[in-house]
Symmetry: none
Subunit: 430 residues, 2 copies
Amino acid sequence: MNIELICSGSELLTGKLNTHASFIGSKLNDIGLNLTLVTTVADRKKEFSQVLKDAIKRSSVIIVTGGLGPTFDDITVETVSEILNIKTYKDEAVQKAICQYFEKKGIKNPTQNNERQSYIIEGAKVLDNRFGTAPGQMLHFSYLQDENKKVRKTIFLLPGPPGELHPMFEEYVLPFMRSYQVNIKKTLIIHICGMAESLVDEKIKPTIDYLSNDDNIEFAILAHNYLIDVKVSVSGENELIIDDILKNINQEFINVLGDNIYGYGDDTLESVIQKMLIETKRTISVAESCTGGLLASKLTNIAGSSLCFKQSVVTYSNEAKIQILNVKQETLNQFGAVSRETANEMLNGILNLSKAEYAVSITGIAGPDGGTNEKPVGLVYIGTSFNGNNEVTKCMFLGTRQDIRDRATNCALDLIRRLILNTRNKRIAK
Amino acid sequence: MNIELICSGSELLTGKLNTHASFIGSKLNDIGLNLTLVTTVADRKKEFSQVLKDAIKRSSVIIVTGGLGPTFDDITVETVSEILNIKTYKDEAVQKAICQYFEKKGIKNPTQNNERQSYIIEGAKVLDNRFGTAPGQMLHFSYLQDENKKVRKTIFLLPGPPGELHPMFEEYVLPFMRSYQVNIKKTLIIHICGMAESLVDEKIKPTIDYLSNDDNIEFAILAHNYLIDVKVSVSGENELIIDDILKNINQEFINVLGDNIYGYGDDTLESVIQKMLIETKRTISVAESCTGGLLASKLTNIAGSSLCFKQSVVTYSNEAKIQILNVKQETLNQFGAVSRETANEMLNGILNLSKAEYAVSITGIAGPDGGTNEKPVGLVYIGTSFNGNNEVTKCMFLGTRQDIRDRATNCALDLIRRLILNTRNKRIAK
């Protein structure tokens, strides 16, 4: 079954971010249904009509967002009415509800414009809007699909503002869509770090190829700044069988990817780190240079981080490195601020200050300036330490200043994650 | 002329936010062109082919994003090749560039998969990807529009990751699109902070109303986490007249908004702060608690920040506040970590450590837990200091943990911006 979304609104073509596809797509996906197509079109009758006609031809369910407002460019209701050749009428109850909404907000006389919003397509169910004036509409209609085959289709008209759309979608559209839910669908998102996307693909390809004839199993792979997500969706009638398939696929992936898998679903590198630290009652401290606080802000992003995050310093200048972290002037002179030696002394400095069990240090060149042949933009040294054992990793990151900072932060999170994973059962020597 | 965008990627139909339409729509709008239609489609050949065929029929310029990666579901190049009936060839130079990209990253042997990315459609111009492996492609082709009328059309194939797409769009697509520009259009983006959106709206409404009959002038207002942008676009044939209109509108806005305007265009709060600090050869240091490094990471986000950013500490625990910043144990006991007094001592501590001319301190409750009736979630004290004069501002922010951290960071940036603005001509007492 095809489900299609049409987002009407010229502003969506000139820079305004469209969040409807993401919201609706995700909600439908959760119940095992998928959007087939999303079209964004200007609120001009000619273009909107054509898109609507095509959608009605192709799909069984059409969801239209936007164009229900009170102004001249709100053309959704009249266009749908014309294309389906079904009249509209002025709904007194709706008109009354609009007036009440305005009264609540202390506005006595709604403008004439708002009267436009009380026109309903004959046969449509009115969908109450608790957060705005424009009601939604749900219409079942019959459509001459082929020469002489009539089929029943459904169109939803929903308001554009997310604050009105979201509750209306949950209240009216989702329950209806559930009636189309034939199968159960479950999705497993596997998070991977520390491997190139192409290598992950190569490793999991045998599993994917082996299952490629099964239409009930879908794979997707997505990479972003050193993090890779693999999404596995399994549909079927029997939940136990679905769980079993997912479990097996996951086991296959664990076999080939090992501890490059850092988590599942809502897990993030930082949440996984925080969980392990709290479980082992250990703490972490951070000394940053080129990432300028990004690593600390990630590690404190989740509620409860105060239990394991001890402190962080951003020592951007040499002066600060010397003064706060006790990095030696001669180390900076001999090896430079971006060096294995400095990263190591930064580790010692932050450990000395904070007495945490784990520490991370980052020093590098985020660019765009400051690079040399010997030390190019993107060169970053990441130090990690457990129980006084320091290790420094040399990394090269490509991209913009922002990319380099993001990637260095993710890489540092992954390095400390691996270190905690491998040392969490180790005793601490006092 | 129709310009159409096709975003390919199943993940965009199942919940992933699509930012391409917003980025490309806004960039085109800036030069007076508009996207006619945006279609989001799964990366399955059948659906993608149909959407592509329809788009080629309707539009003169087709921009396709996504599906250029190395994995099985990356089908853009082969599908475009099939539909246009133009062969692909393996481009040795592209293959070499991909290998070099991997070498830079320290990977010796790219997988076979990456070889897929070196296939180019015959006649297409290769668009270099400086931030990833997949090159873009620009192809001019002739199309039999009506019975016997051939027209020239253009298709762009661009990579999906925003970090790769954005620079490629600016470098290759925009210059080409400028050749279609009939009118001149100039846009002024005015950044405002420290006022509610409704108040900004009230202040600028007279100007907007006065100009509302002029179709060549457009206004848009956008608010996000305490920052407000007003976008003014003016179209016309004469650049001097356009500049004059923009100048006048800007002056009107300055009259009513004053130094709530913090910048224009690419300016950010942090870039404005950095500029003023570098001009006056003064420095800043930061002590953060609930924002956990976010403020520092913003202040070091721009190249050159090492000239004015001295250092920062994230003192999440009381212990760290005492040890690093010399906050008194009795202050914490008597007033608590989230208090005017602690914010003040944090200021003194970071100034003492860093000897910067300016300092900011933040201590608050980001939630979701940790709030009380007396000190609810969202309560944040922000300290600012110049030349030893400390001031602490009490703030209440609403929203999620992330919202509160973002808003506190923006508010702190605005407070220090105003302080620098008002003191930049003042001498420093030694």
